[in-house]
Amino acid sequence: MLSRVANNLYWMARYIERAENIARIVDVNLQLLLDLRDLNDQRLADHWMPIVQSTGDEAAFLGLHKKATGKHVTEFLVFQTENTNSLVSSICQARENARMVRDQITGDLWEELNRLYLFVRSPQARQVWKESPTDFFQQVKSSSLTLIGLTRATAIRNEGWNFSEAGKLIERADKTSRILDLRYHTLPEKGAPTSVTQAEALEWSAILRSCSAWDAYKSIHSAEVHPKLVTNFLLLNEDFPRSARFCVKELNLALRRISGVSAGRFSNEAEKLTGRLEAELQFSTVDEIFAHGLHQYLDQFQFKLNAIGNALFSAYFFQSTASVDDQILVQQEEQQQQSHHLVLGANDANRPTVN
């Protein structure tokens, strides 16, 4: 498949996943505020600022807003197109990538994505948002899930599918780790906290709900919310589809379907790094992670995912950096050599220019 097309599919899937994650984070945190007491400016900032930080766009935010209030943060994360990672920006970019490869995706997928795009850009979206943010996020989330479902149910399992899977999984693993990192400033630098206040428990359950993990978590750990258990679940659980380990395992499989190289071997940097990261998650315990420092661990995890993304780019998407000028030079050289052949074996069809 065309490298450019593979790249577009990869990013289309990443941006859809990104938009859905923003919808969940903002939705859950807006609801969480309803349960918190004694809110003042400082406490609000303490609540919202980590969310901005988790997206990695703190500098952009401070360039646009003075204070981290709910209004500013949600505006920044949801609607502001100056923020290239906002929900609306992500949907626009997903749709733009899809537009470039419309011949490669099913009509249903395109229509749904286009519908979502038209919705978030319409005045009606603002209206829904004003009346009930939850309804707004519900629309975005169900649209994203429809897109994922449509892809699963209708897309042929070819290379393009694997590249869009890879994009989705890298984004999802990254976002899960960033959401898990939201409350790191309440943790000791190394080691796990011994006791958890009620407010903290609420915050950690918000983390689970931001990852749509609340029900799954409860079924395993009952209703006891502890940072260690939450971390274990979101990072190391083998079966939960949004856990870091699950995503990396699936990513590894997708990459191997692309190249045909069996597990245990690798044919490029991306496969090597992904295999290594999967092994690391398989053979780690949550105690070790806390002993190392959760924040630091997650930082490194995100760094490794970035490295995998870059390696994928060099292995499959990279277009030779030769500029058009260089290419023209190559062509002129080739044609110089060719015209010697032409003189030797000149035939009518290849007659040199009459000009």
Binding site: R4, Q332, A349
Partner: protein, 489 residues
């Protein structure tokens, strides 16, 4: 339909058809025979039902992103191409005439292109004054003596036809470079079938759906010698081109890759596409990029859309292009003037569909006439399309006329003039939910491969603004589905 209240029937009764050739009603206000069956079905609909159908079609087009991009408009870059639900209907005997006329024309144009790039008989014998061809902006002298694959120059042609106030069919222009619009033909039909599922069979409308297969068959036919299973691709200028929707649509329908210039690379006079598994050879390119931009080493040096070395590969016979390079000269509006002579010269026939009467500004007598009658004529620049570079004399301001007067005097070769044709009209729904006559034209699509294939009908474009004669999508035009009937009624 008794008891439903007002029906469409009444609304069409107030319809004014005087003063023009109306496609549906004759001079006496009677429905023409080939519209009668449609009229019967149509009468059974209430205005509410009709508007409901219209609304769902609009929503479907928007959802599917069946849109075009407007150049120079940064705010609303994508628009849906307005679609009018009343179909334009052509009876079998009339279509048969058009088909013969279009085949005659594309045959003559291809013979002409072969001739001027080879022996130039038509110039040597003075049938066409040589300087008109040799001075043409799109005459590619670099390709003199070059044999294009299968000796076909124009593979896809979108000829614009109109009818004058007596209902006579005329050719307005030949689009022999990269004509667009066929995706609307296919999508309009799909929308109509969804809206009026019962009508098609009962009225007897010929299908258009096999266009994509015919196009692919033609492209495969062009494959370079010795390539049994050619790789065909569609070359697009990219997602910001106004016809990008059509490019992806056709590529998907044909099941071929759509590529941009940067996806292709030329090595040893062969064309390859960059894939995730390395370079893969390409044999036939359906290019939707004009000659000027196709190869920066040969034509425009600043083009970022093209593929360096493509022309070299083409000359070496390793890749085929549709349409061939150099067909732009046939689109030159001055060449249009000579098409009837080409038909006579190469085929020894009279044109089946005549031209619109045309004056060449570079002929002294014609120029004098043009300059004296600028307020009555339509003036066109020889190498513009899409309704740009045009003066509608009777509707123009004094300043506009003076601008054209200066331009014609400065560069007469670049202008032609034609009398203002009052195009035929067709009942069309207005924004106020009334039905009024609006001017229309017709662009059939002609494929020239192993044989000539013309999909029945084509794109009927309609000038939605009252009184307007400009049907281009970029200038307030819309479209209709075009029905060619199996019979005459």
């Amino acid at each position: 339909m008794p008891g439903v209240g007002k029906t469409r029937h009444h609304m069409l009764k107030r319809y004014d058809h005087a003063g023009f050739f109306d496609e549906m009603l004759d001079k006496g206000g009677q429905v023409r025979p080939h519209y009668r069956k449609f009229r019967e079905h149509f009468k059974a609909l209430t205005p509410q039902e009709f508007n409901h159908k219209r609304h769902s079609v609009d929503v479907a087009f928007l959802r599917q992103g069946i849109t075009f991009n407007v150049y120079g408009d940064s705010a609303g870059t994508e628009k849906i191409f307005p679609f009018d639900l009343l179909p334009r209907i052509i009876p079998a005997r009339e279509w048969e005439l058009l088909e013969r006329g279009l085949a005659q024309r594309i045959t003559a144009l291809n013979l002409f292109l072969h001739d001027i790039y080879h022996e130039q008989h038509i110039l040597k014998e003075g049938v066409i004054p040589p300087h008109y061809v040799l001075s043409g902006k799109h005459f590619r002298r670099e390709f003199a003596g070059f044999n294009v694959p299968k000796d076909i120059y124009i593979h896809v042609c979108g000829t614009d036809l109109i009818r004058d106030d007596s209902g006579r069919w005329l050719v307005l222009e030949d689009n022999g470079r990269c004509p667009s619009g066929v995706s609307y033909v296919l999508e309009n039909r799909r929308a109509m079938k969804r809206s009026f599922p019962g009508m098609f069979e009962q009225i007897g409308v010929r299908p258009v759906e096999d266009y994509s297969q015919e196009l692919l068959r033609m492209l495969n036919y062009l494959a370079p010698v010795g390539v049994a299973d050619p790789t065909v691709v569609l070359l697009t200028p990219g997602a910001y081109n106004s016809a990008y929707f059509e490019h992806t649509y056709l590529a998907r329908q044909m099941g071929i890759e759509i590529v941009e210039g940067r996806d292709l690379v030329v090595r040893d006079a062969r064309v390859f596409m960059r894939t995730t598994k390395g370079l893969r050879p390409v044999h036939v390119i359906y290019r939707r990029i004009d000659d000027d931009f196709i190869d920066p080493t040969v034509f425009r040096r600043d083009s970022m859309l093209g593929v360096p070395g493509l022309v070299h590969a083409y000359r070496a016979g390793n890749v085929s292009l549709a349409n061939s390079i150099g067909t732009g000269i046939a689109d030159d509006k001055v060449m249009y003037y000579f098409v009837p002579r080409m038909i006579k010269y190469y085929l020894n026939q009279e044109p089946i569909i005549p031209n619109v009467e045309t004056y060449l500004a570079s002929e002294e007598a014609d120029k004098k006439y043009i300059l004296e009658n600028l307020n009555k004529l339509v003036v066109k620049a020889a190498n513009e399309s899409g309704g740009y570079g045009m003066l509608m004399g009777p509707k123009a301001s004094k300043d506009e006329i003076e601008i054209f007067r200066k331009a014609i005097e400065a560069d007469p070769r670049n202008y032609i003039a034609q009398p203002m044709i009052s195009l035929s009209r067709h009942p069309t729904q207005t924004d106020e939910n009334k039905f009024e006559g609006r001017h229309i034209d017709l662009r059939p699509f002609i494929l020239y491969g192993e044989k000539i294939v013309i999909v029945p009908g084509g794109l009927t474009r309609v000038a939605l603004r009252k009184g307007s004669l400009v049907v281009n999508s970029s200038q307030g035009g819309g479209s209709k589905d075009t029905w060619v009937l199996y019979g005459d009624e």
